[in-house]
C-alpha cells in the first residue's frame, strides 16, 4: 500500500497549497489613490488638477468645441446677437440655442452642464481630501488655501448651474458611481430652493475669502490667473444678486471696489480686455490662463480657445475682397440691427465703446479698411518714391503705371486720378452673409495679436471689474442706496457714452448693462431675472441675410437682392424661411431655464426632475 501513499500525499499537498497570493500583481506606472493626498505637494497637485479642469472645460471641453462652450451657452439665447455662420444650419449647435428651438438633448446645453460638474468633481477631490488638512499634520497654509480656492471654484460652478438650470443638484462631495443625485430643491436630506442654493454659493465663497491670496495691485497680471479674494467676493456678490438678496450682495461687491486692486481700463483700451494683449489687465478679475509653453506641445489646445480666431472671424470668403488686416473666419456671431441702433442711440455713433463692440459695414469695413484693390499690385510700400496713400474713406487716389520707364528701366508711376471705392468690384459682399446685419461684431472678433503659437492662447475671461460695478449699482438701485450711481457713471464715462445717468434707477442699470456686457453671457439670465423676456419671443423667426445690391444679378433671378446698383448698397433680407414649420422663440414658462440633459442625465437618473415644459 505504500505506493498509494505517495500519490495520495502529493494530491493532498497540492490541494492544501494555495497559490492565491501569487494573484496579487501590482499595477505599473501608477500610484494608488490612497498613496496620494498626503502632503502639501499633493495638495498643490490636486488644486492644479482642479484648475486644469476649470480651464479645459470653459475653453474647449472634451468635445473639442471650436468656441468657448461657456461663453457660447449663455450668450446665444439673447436678443442682441444671432447664431450665424456660412448658411442656415452651419454651426447649428449655436443657432438652435439662439432660435430657442433646441431640445433637451442639445449638445451645448448637455456638455456645459456636464462640464460644470466635472469642475465641481475636481474641486471636491481637493476639498474632501484636504478640508481637515494633511492626514498627519492637520491644516497647513497650503491646505487652507487650496481648499479655499476649490470652494470658490465649486461655488462659481453651482452659481452658473443655478442661473442656467434653476435647481440643479448640489454636489458638495465626491459622489460614487452608483449615486443618483436629486435636484437641490427635492433633495430628501438637505433641500434648498433656487435662491437658497445661490446663497449657499455666496456663503461658500465668503467663507473662503480669509484663506485666499489677494491680487497685489491693479497691474498684477498673474493675480488674475488664479482664484483670489477679489474673485471670491465677485462670486458672492453675483450669487446674492441672482438670489435677489440685494442687501447682502452689496458688501462683497463693495469690498472689491474698496480694495483698489481693480480698475476700468481707459476707453481706448476697453476692447483689449477680450484679447491677448489685454490679458490680466487692470479690469480683469479672473480668467483661466493658458500660455504658449513649448514644453506642453499640442496639449496647449486643451485649454485654448482652439479655433476662436476662425469662429469669431468675419466670413470674408463671401466677400469680393478681403481687407488686408483681417484674418477672416466663419462668422458665427451676427449682431442684431436693433441692438446696434440702440447702442448708437445711447452711446452716440462715435463712442469708443460702440467702436470697440461693433463695426458698421458701410463705411467702416467697406471703405475705411485697406483692401488689396486700393493699390496696384506692384506698388511696393517700402519704395520711398511711392508714399503710402491715405486711403480711408470712399475715394482713393490711385496710382497707375504710365507705361513709361525711367532711365534705370523702372516703370514710371503716376497718380492720375482718384478712384471711387464705392464702385470697386474687388470689395463688398459678393454672395451673401447669413445672420448678419449692417453691423459686424468686433468685441471678440479676432485680433492680429490673438495669434499666438498656431492657435489662440487667449485666456477665457470669467470675471471683470465692469460687471462688479454694474452688479453693485443694481444692488444699490434696488435698495435705494445712491452709492451705486457713481459706479454706473464710471462705466458710462469710460465708454465715452453720450448718456450719463443722473439718478440711480433699476431701469438705468438695466439699460447700461445691456450695452456694457454685450456678448458676455449676462443678457439672457438678466432678462429672465428681470422678467423682461418679451424681446426674446421672436428669436429665430426672422434671421437676416445681408446682400450687396452692387452684385445683384437680375438675370439669375434666384436671390432677392433687389435691383443691381451702381455703388455698394447693403440690403437686409429678413424674409428667409429657414425655420419654417419649426417652433422657435422664447416660450414663457419654459425657456427661463435650460433643460437638464435628457439622454445623459434625466434618462439615467430617476431622481432628477426635468425643468417645466421640457
Amino acid at each position: 500500500m505504500k505506493k498509494y501513499l505517495i500519490p495520495l500525499f502529493l494530491v493532498g499537498a497540492v490541494f492544501a497549497t494555495s497559490c492565491e497570493s501569487k494573484l496579487d500583481i501590482p499595477q505599473k506606472g501608477v500610484i494608488s489613490i490612497d498613496d496620494f493626498y498626503k502632503t502639501n505637494e499633493d495638495a498643490e497637485g490636486a488644486i492644479v488638477a482642479a484648475y486644469d479642469a476649470f480651464a479645459k472645460y470653459v475653453a474647449r471641453g472634451d468635445n473639442e468645441y471650436i468656441i468657448s462652450p461657456y461663453n457660447a451657452l449663455f450668450n446665444l439665447p439673447s436678443d442682441d446677437i444671432y447664431g450665424a455662420g456660412e448658411f442656415y444650419g452651419d454651426n447649428d449647435f449655436l443657432g438652435e440655442i439662439n432660435d430657442f428651438r433646441f431640445d433637451a438633448d442639445a449638445q451645448l446645453v448637455t456638455d456645459m452642464y456636464r462640464y460644470y460638474y466635472k469642475i465641481i468633481y475636481s474641486a471636491n477631490l481637493v476639498i474632501d481630501r484636504f478640508k481637515d488638512g494633511l492626514p498627519d499634520e492637520g491644516p497647513t497654509a497650503v491646505t487652507k488655501r487650496v481648499v479655499a480656492e476649490a470652494r470658490v471654484m465649486r461655488a462659481w460652478c453651482h452659481m452658473m448651474l443655478a442661473i442656467g438650470w434653476d435647481c440643479p443638484p448640489l454636489v458638495d462631495h465626491v459622489l460614487g458611481a452608483a449615486e443618483r443625485p436629486y435636484n437641490c430643491n427635492t433633495d430628501p436630506n438637505n433641500p434648498k430652493t433656487h435662491d437658497e442654493l445661490l446663497e449657499w454659493c455666496a456663503e461658500e465663497a465668503l467663507a473662503a475669502v480669509p484663506d485666499l491670496r489677494e491680487r497685489a495691485s491693479a497691474s498684477d497680471k498673474n493675480g488674475t490667473t488664479y482664484i483670489t479674494k477679489g474673485f471670491a467676493n465677485f462670486v458672492a456678490g453675483k450669487a446674492y444678486v441672482f438670489a435677489n438678496n440685494m442687501a447682502a450682495a452689496k458688501a462683497p461687491l463693495k469690498e472689491i471696489i474698496k480694495s483698489k486692486k481693480y480698475e476700468l481700463v481707459p476707453a481706448e483700451r476697453m476692447r483689449e480686455t477680450f484679447h491677448i494683449k489685454g490679458e490680466g489687465n487692470e479690469e480683469t478679475i479672473f480668467g483661466t490662463n493658458v500660455n504658449n509653453n513649448p514644453s506642453i506641445g499640442s496639449g496647449v489646445m486643451d485649454k485654448s480657445l482652439w479655433m476662436h480666431l476662425d469662429i469669431s472671424g468675419w466670413r470674408t470668403d463671401h466677400w469680393a475682397g478681403k481687407p488686408n488686416a483681417i484674418k477672416g473666419g466663419w462668422g458665427a456671431i451676427g449682431v442684431r440691427q436693433e441692438f446696434a441702433e440702440a447702442l448708437i442711440a445711447n452711446d452716440g455713433f462715435d463712442s469708443p465703446r460702440r467702436k470697440a463692440w461693433i463695426v458698421k459695414y458701410d463705411p467702416e469695413i467697406l471703405y475705411d479698411l485697406e483692401y488689396p484693390s486700393d493699390n496696384p499690385w506692384w506698388l511696393n510700400e517700402k519704395d520711398a518714391r511711392y508714399p503710402k496713400f491715405a486711403n480711408r474713406g470712399r475715394y482713393i487716389q490711385k496710382t497707375v503705371d504710365t507705361g513709361k520707364k525711367d532711365d534705370k528701366g523702372k516703370p514710371i508711376i503716376d497718380t492720375v486720378f482718384t478712384d471711387d471705392k464705392t464702385k470697386d468690384s474687388q470689395r463688398g459682399i459678393a454672395s451673401y452673409l447669413y445672420g448678419q446685419t449692417e453691423y459686424l461684431e468686433n468685441k471678440r472678433q479676432a485680433d492680429p495679436g490673438d495669434v499666438d503659437y498656431w492657435l489662440s492662447t487667449l485666456n477665457v475671461l470669467v470675471a471683470r471689474y465692469a460687471e462688479v460695478l454694474l452688479l453693485y449699482a443694481e444692488a444699490c438701485a434696488v435698495t435705494n442706496d445712491n452709492d451705486g450711481l457713481q459706479y454706473l457713471q464710471e462705466i458710462q464715462r469710460r465708454a465715452g457714452s453720450q448718456h450719463i445717468s443722473s439718478s440711480l434707477t433699476l431701469a438705468e442699470v438695466q439699460n447700461e448693462k445691456r450695452f456694457e456686457m454685450f456678448m458676455e453671457g449676462t443678457r439672457w439670465p438678466d432678462l429672465v431675472r428681470w422678467g423682461k423676456t418679451e424681446s426674446l419671443v421672436n428669436n429665430g423667426k426672422e434671421i437676416p441675410y445681408m446682400y450687396d445690391q452692387f452684385f445683384a444679378d437680375e438675370e439669375k433671378g434666384t436671390t432677392p437682392r433687389k435691383t443691381k446698383t451702381e455703388t455698394h448698397t447693403i440690403y437686409l433680407d429678413y424674409t428667409g424661411k429657414d425655420n419654417a414649420g419649426k417652433t422657435v422663440g422664447f416660450v414663457k414658462g419654459k425657456h427661463e431655464h435650460f433643460p437638464y440633459p435628457y439622454s445623459k442625465a434625466v434618462a439615467i437618473n430617476e431622481n432628477l426632475t426635468q425643468n417645466p415644459n421640457w
Binding site: I6, L10, D42, V48, A49, D52, Y117, V171, T225, N289
Partner: protein, 1043 residues
C-alpha cells in the same frame, strides 16, 4: 496517451462493485480462481467473470485483478470489462486462470477527449464536435484552425485573409460579446495556447470542439466562447513507420476583382459628370491604355510543404516525431508576401512502472512572415488595386511620361519638407529601371499598388516552444492521478524600414523611418488532477477533481527612429537601429513594459451512467484571476453545469422490437451550464489610480506649467467577467446498420455582464465607468447528416452539416442607446451594438430608391424633420451569417480515392468601402457602373452617379449593401495509392499520389475581391470590406509515402 488513459479508467469501472459485492453468486461443483490483467500486465479491476448462459453465476475482480468462483463443470466462462474485448474460455480441468484482456479497438475509436479526461462518445451528454485525422488529411492549408472549416456544425471558421501565414479565427456557436475577444479557448495536449497557427494539420490526431456550456464548464471562466481541444498524434503500438508527405501548391488569384476596364471607366466618368474627353486629351491619353491592376499586382505563387514523421511504440511506450516545413510565397508579385515555418513535434510516453507513466509533448516552431498592407483605406495595395484607374500604365519608361508633379520633383521643385533629398531618389524605380506610374487624372493616397508594395519592408519572425511533461500515477485500478506541467516560450522580433518617396501630393513621405522590436513570452501552467472510476452494479461512476495554476510573463523592447536623416548609411546593411544617428532632427522612441498575469483554479466532475442507458454529469469550476483583471473581492468565480442523456436504443423496448438494421442507435441529451469570458478584462479595468502629473496649469502670464494629479476615473471593484449561460438539447441517431447517421442540436445561449463603458450621470463628474451591463443571445440549430456504404469495390460516404444561427443583443445599460464604432474617410457607415439587433450590425441610411426622372437618391428620413442626418441611420445589414454549411463526399475504388469538399455561409451582408467619395475619379467596382441610373436605364439599382459623386451619406446607405453568401469548393482531390505488392518491393508500405484543386471555385454574387475575406478582422467592424488579401485558388500536387 489518452486512449491508454481511458482504457485504464474503463478497465476499473466496477472496482467498487468488487469491494461491495465480492462474489455475487456461489454454486456447486468446481472452484476456480485467477487474475485478469491487461496487456501491460497491470491488474484489471472490476472485470466481470460470468458463466456463459447463466449470468447469475459470476464474480468481479478485486483491486489485484483476482477473482474466485464456483462454476458448474464443463461451463464456459466469459470475462468482460468496459474498454476491452470480451474473452470466453471453456474451463475444462483448469482451476487457475490468467486472462490477458486486449483493449477493444472499436470501443476506443469512439472515445472523445473532454477536459481533463476522455469519455465514450455514446455516453456524451454535452455537445462535442469531434474532427478526426482523416478529416484533416492532405489539406493544403498550413493552419489547424482553417482545416476545421466546414467540418462541424455550429463552428464558423473565419479566414480573414488569404495572405501567407494568416491564421483563421474560430467562432463557436455565434458571437457572444461586444468586445473583440470572442475566440474559443485553445488547448493542445492539455496546454493552453494563444493560437493554433503553428500546428500543422498533419500533426493532429483529433480536434474536439466543446460547444455547449456543460462540456466547456470544466474550463470555467475561459470557456464562454467554447473550447477547442487538440490532440497531437501519438505513436502506434507495434507498427513503427516513417511517413513523408509532400505537397507542392501553385496558387493564383481566385476571384478577379470586378473593377472597371478602360471602356467602362470612361463611360462611368461621363455618367459621373466629368468631362472625360477633355481630361483624356489634357493628359495625353493614347486611346489604348487599359491597365488591369490585378494583373500587375498578382502573379502565380508557389508553396511547398514537407512533412516527415517517425512513429512507433510497444506495450511500454510510444513515440511520435514529426518535422514540417512550409514555404509559402503568396500571389503578390515578387517576394513581399512570404510565410516560412519550420516546426517539429516530439511526443513520447513510457510506462516506467505499472503504476507510473511519464510522457511529454513538445512542439518547436520557427517562423517568419513578410506581409503587405491590407484592410486599410490608405497605403494599401489591396485597396489600390481596386481604386487605381485603368488609364494609367503600371510603369513609366521615361521621365517624359511623368505626371506634372512627378516631373516637378524630378527637376528639383520638391514640396516643402523634401528639400534635403536628391529629387531623383524620391521617384521610386522598379527593379528593371522603369518608374512606377501614378495617375495623371487624380491623386489618391496609394499612388500605385506597386509603390505601396515596393515601400513595404517589414518582417516578423520568431521561435516558439510549446510543450508539456506529465506523469500519470496509477496506484490502483480505476484511479489515475495526473500531474502535468505545460509551458510556452516565445521569442519574436520585428523590423521595419521605409524611405522618403514622392508619388503624388497625397502619397508621399518626407521621412525615413525605422523600427525594431523584440518580444519574449513565458507561460507555464501546472495542473494536478485525479480521475477515479468505479461501478456499483450497473451504475458507472467517474469522479475527477483537480487544480491548476498558470502564470504568464511577457516582455518587450522596441525602438524606432524617424526623421529626414536618421542613419549613418542607407545601404541595406545599415538598416538597423544601431546605425541611427544622433542628429537633432532624428526623433527616437523606445518602449518597454513587462506584463504579468496569473490564474488559479479548482475543478471537479462527477459522472454517472446506468447500463449505458441513462447518464448524468455535473461539472464545477472555481476560477480566480490576478489583480490585473479583477479586484481581490471579486476575483473568484464559480461555474457549474449539469447534463444528461438517455440512450433510447439501449432500452429493451427498442432492442426487442426494432432491428439494429433499421434503428442502430438513438440518443437524446440535454445540458445546462455557465461559462465565462475573462479575456475582456485586463489592465486593471476595475481599478482607478492617480494619473500622476498628467494635469497642468500655468499660474501667471509667462509662467511655466505646474503639474498636478487626480484619479483616472471611478473604480468599479465589482467588475466581473462576461458570463454565458447555455441550454442545449440534442438528438443522435443512426439507421440502417449505422449507414445513415443523423444528429441535431439546439442551443440557446445568453451571455450576460458584457463590459460596457456606461455613461454616469453628469453630476458624478466622471463621464464613464466600465460596468457589466449588456446581454447577447445566441441561439441555433445544428444538423449533421451522413451516409456511408459500399457498392462492390466502391466505398463511398457523404457527410453534410448545416447550422442556423441567430444573434441578438437583448440588453444594454440604459445610459447607452447604442454603441457605435468605426470611422472611414469616405463613408459614414458605422457598426453599432444595440438592443434588438445582431451585434455590431451595419448602421447606415436606408436607401429608398431614387427619383426616376433625375436619378436623385432618396434616403429615408425616419424622424421626418426634412433632413437626413445621423439620427436617421438605421439597421441596414449584418456581417453575421444566418446559415453555415459544409459538404464532404469521399469515394474509394480500388486504389483510387476522391474527395469533394465544399463549405459556405448565407444570410450575411458585406458593405464595401471601395468607392472614394472624396476622390470620385478613382476606379471602383464595375458593378456600380453596370447598375447605375442613366437616361437609358431608369430602373437600375444605383442612382445617378453624378448626383452621388461626393455623397458620403448615400455611400453609407443600404444601396451599397451586398449579399455576402457564398459557397466555396474548398477541395477536389483525386488520389491513387499504388498497390502494396508493387511498393513493398522497394520497401514502401504505402505510396499515394494525389492532385487537388483547393479553394478553386467560389459561387457568390459579391462583386468585390473575395466574399470570404471581405471583412475587417475586427469583430466590431464585421462585414466592412476595406480590401483584403483574397483567398488564393490552388493546384496541389502531393505524395504520401510510408515506409
Amino acid at each position: 496517451m489518452t486512449r491508454q488513459f481511458f482504457a485504464k479508467m474503463a478497465a476499473a469501472v466496477m472496482i467498487i462493485a468488487a469491494g461491495l459485492l465480492g462474489t455475487v453468486a456461489t454454486a456447486q461443483n468446481r472452484a476456480i480462481s485467477g487474475t485478469v490483467v491487461d496487456e501491460s500486465g497491470a491488474p484489471v479491476v472490476g472485470a466481470a467473470v460470468i458463466v456463459v448462459g447463466n449470468a447469475s453465476i459470476g464474480a468481479v475482480t478485486d483491486v489485484n485483478g483476482a477473482f474466485r468462483l464456483n462454476v458448474p463443470a464443463g461451463a464456459n466462462i466469459n470475462v468482460s470489462c468496459v474498454g476491452y474485448a470480451d474473452q470466453t474460455v471453456a474451463i475444462g480441468n483448469q482451476t487457475n486462470f490468467r486472462f490477458v484482456l486486449v483493449e477493444d479497438a472499436e470501443f476506443l475509436e469512439e472515445t472523445v477527449v473532454i477536459g481533463y479526461g476522455v469519455q465514450k462518445k455514446s455516453d456524451l451528454s454535452g455537445a462535442v464536435a469531434s474532427i478526426r485525422e482523416e478529416d484533416l488529411k492532405n489539406r493544403s492549408t498550413t493552419d489547424a484552425a482553417s482545416a476545421l472549416q466546414g467540418k462541424a456544425a455550429g463552428v464558423q471558421i473565419l479566414n480573414y485573409s488569404g495572405a501567407p501565414g494568416q491564421g483563421a479565427a474560430i467562432r463557436v456557436r455565434g458571437y457572444s460579446s461586444n468586445s473583440g475577444s470572442i475566440g474559443p479557448l485553445l488547448i493542445v495536449d492539455g496546454l493552453k495556447v494563444d493560437n493554433i497557427q503553428y500546428l500543422d494539420p498533419t500533426m493532429i490526431e483529433s480536434m474536439e470542439i466543446l460547444k455547449d456550456a456543460a462540456s466547456a464548464a470544466i474550463y470555467g471562466a475561459q470557456a464562454g466562447n467554447g473550447v477547442v481541444l487538440i490532440t497531437t498524434k501519438a505513436g502506434k503500438e507495434g507498427s513503427s513507420s516513417i511517413t513523408y508527405d509532400f505537397k507542392l501548391t501553385n496558387q493564383s488569384l481566385a476571384h478577379l476583382p470586378g473593377v472597371m476596364n478602360r471602356k467602362q471607366f470612361i463611360d462611368f466618368k461621363q455618367m459621373q459628370g466629368y468631362n472625360i474627353d477633355q481630361e483624356l486629351v489634357a493628359n495625353g491619353d493614347d486611346g489604348i491604355i487599359d491597365t488591369d491592376w490585378s494583373k500587375e499586382l498578382f502573379e502565380r505563387g508557389f508553396m511547398q510543404q514537407h512533412s516527415l514523421s517517425f512513429q512507433g511504440g510497444n506495450k511500454n511506450g510510444h513515440y511520435f516525431v514529426s518535422l514540417n516545413y512550409v514555404d509559402n510565397n503568396g500571389i503578390v508579385v515578387g517576394n513581399k508576401d512570404v510565410y516560412k515555418r519550420l516546426s517539429a513535434q516530439v511526443n513520447g510516453d513510457y510506462n516506467i512502472k505499472p503504476w507510473l507513466q511519464v510522457g511529454t509533448n513538445t512542439s518547436i516552431e520557427k517562423w517568419s512572415t513578410l506581409g503587405v498592407t491590407q484592410r486599410s483605406e490608405t497605403n494599401s495595395p489591396m485597396m489600390a488595386v481596386i481604386q487605381n484607374d485603368p488609364l494609367t500604365p503600371a510603369y513609366y519608361d521615361e521621365v517624359g511620361q511623368f505626371t506634372t508633379s512627378m516631373t516637378n520633383v524630378w527637376n528639383g521643385q520638391v514640396p516643402e519638407g523634401f528639400e534635403t533629398y536628391d529629387p531623383h531618389s524620391l521617384i521610386l524605380q522598379a527593379p528593371d529601371g522603369r518608374w512606377y506610374a501614378v495617375s495623371k487624372y487624380v491623386d489618391n493616397d496609394h499612388g500605385s499598388p506597386l509603390i505601396q508594395l515596393a515601400r513595404s519592408n517589414s518582417t516578423n519572425g520568431g521561435i516558439s516552444v510549446r510543450g508539456s511533461a506529465f506523469a500519470n500515477l496509477k496506484p490502483f485500478k480505476g484511479f489515475v492521478f495526473t500531474s502535468r506541467f505545460g509551458y510556452r516560450l516565445s521569442f519574436s522580433n520585428s523590423h521595419s524600414y521605409s524611405e522618403p518617396y514622392y508619388a503624388n501630393d497625397m502619397a508621399k513621405s518626407d521621412q525615413y523611418s525605422i523600427s525594431a522590436g523584440a518580444n519574449t513570452g513565458i507561460y507555464y501552467q501546472w495542473e494536478n488532477f485525479a480521475n477515479y472510476n468505479f461501478n456499483i452494479g450497473k451504475n458507472a461512476f467517474t469522479a475527477m477533481a483537480g487544480m491548476s495554476f498558470t502564470e504568464n510573463f511577457s516582455d518587450n523592447v522596441s525602438g524606432n527612429a524617424n526623421g529626414k536623416d536618421i542613419l549613418s548609411g542607407y545601404a541595406e546593411n545599415f538598416r538597423y537601429l544601431n546605425y541611427v544617428n544622433s542628429a537633432e532632427g532624428t526623433t527616437k522612441g523606445i518602449s518597454n513594459l513587462p506584463g504579468h498575469s496569473a490564474n488559479l483554479s479548482y475543478y471537479g466532475r462527477l459522472n454517472w451512467s446506468y447500463d449505458s442507458r441513462y447518464g448524468l454529469q455535473a461539472n464545477f469550476r472555481a476560477d480566480a484571476f490576478d489583480s490585473s483583471k479583477l479586484s481581490k473581492k471579486s476575483r473568484w468565480g464559480y461555474f457549474p453545469s449539469v447534463s444528461g442523456f438517455w440512450n433510447i436504443s439501449n432500452e429493451r423496448f427498442i432492442k426487442d422490437n426494432i432491428s439494429k438494421d433499421i434503428l442502430s442507435f438513438l440518443k437524446v441529451k440535454a445540458s445546462w451550464g455557465v461559462n465565462g469570458n475573462i479575456n475582456v478584462l485586463s489592465g486593471y479595468k476595475y481599478d482607478t489610480t492617480i494619473s500622476l502629473n498628467s494635469n497642468w496649469y500655468e499660474y501667471g502670464m509667462d509662467a511655466q506649467p505646474s503639474y498636478g494629479s487626480k484619479p483616472s476615473g471611478v473604480a468599479n471593484p465589482d467588475l466581473k467577467w462576461e458570463t454565458s449561460e447555455q441550454l442545449d438539447f440534442g438528438l443522435e441517431a443512426r439507421f440502417l446498420n449505422n449507414r445513415l447517421t443523423f444528429a441535431t442540436e439546439y442551443y440557446d445561449k445568453n451571455t450576460r455582464d458584457l463590459l460596457v463603458d456606461a455613461s454616469l450621470p453628469p453630476e458624478i463628474g466622471v463621464t464613464t465607468s466600465t460596468i457589466n451591463a449588456g446581454t447577447v443571445n445566441n441561439k441555433g440549430l445544428e444538423f449533421e447528416l451522413g451516409w456511408k456504404d459500399r457498392i462492390g469495390e466502391l466505398s463511398y460516404s457523404i457527410n453534410g452539416n448545416f447550422t442556423w444561427q441567430k444573434n441578438k443583443v437583448t440588453y444594454l445599460d440604459p445610459s447607452i442607446p447604442r454603441d457605435v464604432k468605426g470611422s472611414y474617410y469616405v463613408s459614414q457607415i458605422r457598426s453599432a451594438f444595440e438592443v434588438g439587433y445582431p451585434i455590431w450590425y451595419m448602421y447606415g441610411y436606408q436607401y429608398d430608391g431614387y427619383k426616376p426622372e433625375t436619378g436623385e437618391p432618396i434616403l429615408h428620413d425616419f424622424n421626418g424633420d426634412g433632413d437626413v442626418t445621423d439620427v436617421d441611420k438605421t439597421f441596414i445589414g449584418s456581417g453575421i451569417p444566418d446559415y453555415l454549411f459544409g459538404l464532404t463526399l469521399n469515394l474509394e475504388y480500388k486504389g483510387f480515392d476522391f474527395t469533394l469538399f465544399g463549405t459556405g455561409v448565407a444570410g450575411n451582408e458585406i458593405f464595401p468601402v471601395l468607392y472614394r467619395t472624396d476622390r470620385p475619379f478613382n476606379n471602383t467596382l464595375e458593378y456600380y457602373h453596370a447598375n447605375s441610373w442613366s437616361e437609358s436605364n431608369k430602373s437600375a439599382r444605383f442612382p445617378n452617379p453624378a448626383l452621388v459623386k461626393n455623397d458620403t451619406k448615400f455611400w453609407a446607405s443600404s444601396a451599397n449593401i451586398f449579399d455576402g453568401s457564398y459557397f466555396k469548393i474548398k477541395q477536389i482531390q483525386l488520389g491513387y495509392t499504388l498497390p502494396a505488392r508493387i511498393t513493398k518491393r522497394v520497401l514502401i508500405n504505402n505510396l499515394r499520389m494525389f492532385v487537388s484543386l483547393d479553394d478553386y471555385f467560389t459561387f457568390t454574387s459579391y462583386p468585390g475581391l473575395d466574399p470570404e475575406t471581405a471583412t475587417t478582422e475586427n469583430i466590431q467592424q464585421m462585414g466592412i470590406d476595406l480590401g483584403t488579401y483574397p483567398t488564393t485558388r490552388k493546384v496541389v500536387f502531393g505524395v504520401n509515402v510510408t515506409f
